[in-house]
C-alpha cells in the first residue's frame, strides 16, 4: 500500500532555496517506492494555499505537508484536514500556536535562532577587530510580511544588543529577497552613511547584492553577514569578501519533512518540534562544509 503525500509550498520560484526544496522533495519521494507525492505551489497567495489544502483533502491523500504562506491564516484549513483524519506536517516555518492541536509535527529550521546566531557571528568578528564599541550596522531584511523575514530580523535585533551592546543598527530597509533590490538599497546607505562597519542581510542573495554595491563604491572593511548560505555567499566567503552566514540546506529541509510525514504515517513517535540544526558558517570554518548546490 503506497502512501499518498501532498505538499503545498509557499512560493516556489521566488528564490532558489524554494526551488531546490521542491526538486529535492520530488527526488526523495521518487526514491521511495512506497511514496506517491503531489507537489503544489501556493505562489505566495494564502487563498490559493487554502484552496490547495482543500483540494488535497478532497483528493483523499494520506498526509499533507504545508509550508505556510501565513502561519495563522492556514489554521482553519489545517483544522479541516485534521477533522478529515488526515495528518498534517508543517515544514520550514511554523504555524501559530492556535493551530498546534491540528498538526502532528513541525520540521524545519529555527529562524529566530538563525537571526540570533548571525548577530553572534557579527559581534564576534567586531570583537576580534576591536571595534565592538563603535561599530555601525545596517540591516537589510527579506520581503516585508514574510514569516521567515520577520523571525530572522527579530532574532538578530534582539540578540545583538545582548552580545554587543555598543554596536548600533543605524538603518533597516527591506531587500525583498532580491539581490538587485538589495544592491540599490545598499548604494543609498553608502551615500547616506560615511561609516558602515557591518551589514546583516536576511539571506545571502541580499548579502551579496550589498557586497556588490560596496565593491562598486570602493568601500572596504565592511563585515557582511547573511543567512541561508547560498552558493554565491559561499564563493564570496572563499574570496574573502564576505564574512559569514548560516548554513541551511533545502535538501535537508525537504528530506526531513518527507521523513517526518512517513514516520507519522508509519505510526512512529515523532517529536512535535523537529528543528534541524542550522550552524554558523564563517570564513574560518567554511572548510567543514560543502558548497551549497543552490
Amino acid at each position: 500500500e503506497t502512501m499518498k503525500i501532498g505538499i503545498t509550498q509557499n512560493n516556489v520560484g521566488v528564490d532558489s532555496y524554494q526551488t531546490t526544496y521542491e526538486k529535492a522533495f520530488i527526488a526523495a519521494a521518487a526514491a521511495n517506492a512506497d511514496v506517491e507525492a503531489v507537489v503544489l505551489d501556493a505562489g505566495g497567495d494564502v487563498a490559493r494555499q487554502i484552496a490547495q489544502v482543500e483540494d488535497l483533502i478532497q483528493q483523499g491523500v494520506d498526509a499533507i505537508i504545508i509550508w505556510p504562506t501565513n502561519g495563522e491564516a492556514v489554521i482553519p484549513a489545517v483544522r479541516k484536514a485534521h477533522q478529515a483524519g488526515i495528518p498534517v506536517i508543517v515544514t520550514n516555518s511554523n504555524i501559530a500556536e492556535a493551530g498546534f492541536d491540528f498538526v502532528k509535527s513541525f520540521s524545519g529550521p529555527d529562524n529566530v535562532t538563525q537571526g540570533a546566531r548571525s548577530a553572534e557571528i557579527m559581534c564576534e568578528k567586531f570583537t576580534a577587530m576591536g571595534v565592538e564599541n563603535e561599530a555601525k550596522v545596517v540591516h537589510i531584511t527579506g520581503q516585508p510580511g514574510y514569516t521567515t523575514a520577520i523571525e530572522r530580523a527579530k532574532g538578530f535585533e534582539d540578540r545583538l544588543p545582548e552580545v554587543c551592546p555598543n554596536v548600533t543598527v543605524v538603518d533597516t530597509q527591506p531587500g525583498d529577497w532580491n539581490r538587485e533590490k538589495s544592491q540599490q538599497v545598499m548604494e543609498a546607505f553608502l551615500v547616506k552613511y560615511d561609516d558602515i562597519d557591518g551589514v546583516y542581510a536576511g539571506d545571502d542573495n541580499m548579502g551579496v547584492g550589498a557586497l556588490n554595491a560596496a565593491k562598486a563604491a570602493g568601500r572596504e572593511g565592511i563585515i557582511f553577514v547573511g543567512a541561508t548560505n547560498f552558493a554565491v555567499g559561499y564563493e564570496a566567503m572563499a574570496a574573502g569578501d564576505y564574512w559569514g552566514s548560516i548554513y541551511q540546506s533545502p535538501v535537508d529541509d525537504a528530506e526531513a519533512a518527507l521523513k517526518t510525514a512517513i514516520d507519522v504515517l508509519g505510526g512512529k513517535e515523532v517529536p512535535f518540534l523537529n528543528y534541524f540544526d542550522t550552524p554558523k558558517i564563517t570564513q574560518d570554518n567554511m572548510g567543514d562544509y560543502t558548497k551549497p548546490v543552490f
Binding site: 507537489v39 494564502v46 483528493q59
Partner: protein
C-alpha cells in the same frame, strides 16, 4: 432592450466552450496522471471550485462594472488587504471589548466602509483631476499597500474568531458561505448592469464618453459610484475570505488585480469599455480557477504551471478570435 443577444452570446461563448474543454481534458488526464482515486468532476470538487472562485470572483464583478464604464482599478489587491486588516484588527480594539460576538458585524461594517471609501477616493481623484484611472489606481496600488504597512507594520494581523470561522465554513444547500456571496454579488451586479439606469449609463459612458457628457449624464459622480462599488466588493471579498482564515499578511492580495482583470477580459469585457457582461466574467473566473485546480490535480510542477497558465490564456484569446471572425468579407483593418 439589450442589444442583439446572439452576438454577445457568441462572444462570451468562447469562455464557456473553454471551460468545457478544460473539464474534459482534466477528467481524462486525471485518469492517468492523478494519484487520487476520485474523478476530477466529482460534485464535491465542483462545489469546492465555486467556493475557491469567490475571492477573485467577487472583485471581478466590480471590475466588470468599472471596465465597462471605461475605467480600470489596479488597486483592488491593496484594498483587499486593508479591509482584511481592519476586519481582523478592529475585533481586538478595546472600544469594542464589551460587544462579545456582536463585534463581528461591527468589524464587517467597518471593513466594508473603509473599502468603499478607498474606492470612492480613487473615483474622486479620477473625476476631479482628470488623470486616467489606470494611472490613479496604479498609484493607489502602491499607496494603499503603504497604508497597510504603516498601520500595522510588517507583521501579519491575526484574530482567529472561531464563531466567524464556523460561519464561513458553514454550508447551506450544499453551497459554502463564500459561494453564496459570490452568487449574490453576481446577481446584484448583473441586475445593476442589465436592468438599471445606472448600469446602462455605465455602458454608454464606456462606449462614448463624449456622447454621454453631451447627453447630460453626470459622468464624474457616476464613476465615483462605480469605484465605490468595486472598493466595497474588494472589501467584501476580504471580509468573506478572512472571516475564515483569520490572519492577513500585509502582502496579501498582491497580483489580485491582474488575475481579476484577466478573468474579466477572458469573460469578454472590452478593455476599452462599453461592452461586457457579468455572466461572461463568472465564466472567466471559473475558467482560471479550474485551470489552477486541474493542473494541481494532474500534478504539474511549478515551472510547468507557470508556462501552461500563460500559454492557455493566450490560447483562449485565439479561440475567442476564431469564434468571432465574421468571414472573408470582413474589412481588413
Amino acid at each position: 432592450m439589450q442589444v442583439n443577444k446572439s452576438s454577445n452570446a457568441l462572444k462570451s461563448g468562447a469562455i464557456w466552450g473553454f471551460i468545457v474543454l478544460e473539464l474534459i481534458f482534466f477528467s481524462i488526464a486525471g485518469e492517468f496522471l492523478s494519484l487520487s482515486d476520485k474523478a476530477f468532476m466529482d460534485t464535491e470538487n465542483m462545489l469546492l471550485l465555486l467556493k475557491q472562485s469567490a475571492p477573485i470572483g467577487i472583485i471581478a464583478m466590480g471590475m466588470t462594472l468599472v471596465m465597462v464604464n471605461g475605467n480600470i482599478d489596479l488597486s483592488v489587491g491593496a484594498t483587499f488587504a486593508i479591509a482584511a486588516m481592519i476586519l481582523l484588527d478592529s475585533m481586538t480594539w478595546t472600544v469594542f471589548a464589551g460587544l462579545g460576538d456582536w463585534v463581528i458585524p461591527v468589524a464587517w461594517v467597518l471593513a466594508l466602509a473603509v473599502g468603499t471609501l478607498l474606492g470612492a477616493l480613487n473615483g474622486l481623484i479620477v473625476w476631479k483631476t482628470g488623470v486616467d484611472a489606470f494611472i490613479v489606481t496604479l498609484g493607489s496600488m502602491l499607496g494603499f499597500r503603504g497604508l497597510v504597512f504603516m498601520v500595522n507594520g510588517e507583521n501579519p494581523t491575526s484574530h482567529l474568531n472561531w464563531t466567524l470561522v464556523d460561519f464561513a465554513e458553514a454550508k447551506f444547500l450544499g453551497f459554502a458561505t463564500a459561494t453564496w456571496f459570490l452568487l449574490a454579488v453576481t446577481l446584484v451586479i448583473w441586475f445593476i448592469m442589465a436592468k438599471t439606469v445606472h448600469g446602462r449609463n455605465a455602458y454608454a459612458i464606456g462606449n462614448n464618453r463624449e456622447a454621454a457628457v453631451n447627453a447630460g449624464i453626470r459622468v464624474g459622480p457616476h464613476m465615483v459610484i462605480n469605484f465605490a462599488i468595486i472598493g466595497f466588493l474588494a472589501a467584501l471579498s476580504a471580509v468573506v475570505f478572512y472571516s475564515e482564515s483569520g490572519s492577513v499578511n500585509p502582502n496579501d492580495g498582491q497580483l489580485y488585480e491582474l488575475w481579476v482583470i484577466t478573468a474579466v477580459v477572458l469573460g469578454g469585457t472590452k478593455i476599452t469599455g462599453g461592452a461586457g457582461s457579468v455572466i461572461g466574467t463568472l465564466g472567466g473566473v471559473i475558467a482560471i480557477q479550474l485551470l489552477r485546480k486541474g493542473l494541481g490535480h494532474i500534478g504539474a510542477d511549478t515551472s510547468t504551471v507557470n508556462l501552461v497558465i500563460g500559454l492557455i490564456l493566450i490560447a483562449v484569446l485565439v479561440l475567442d478570435r476564431q469564434l468571432n471572425v465574421r468571414g472573408k468579407e470582413e474589412l481588413k483593418v
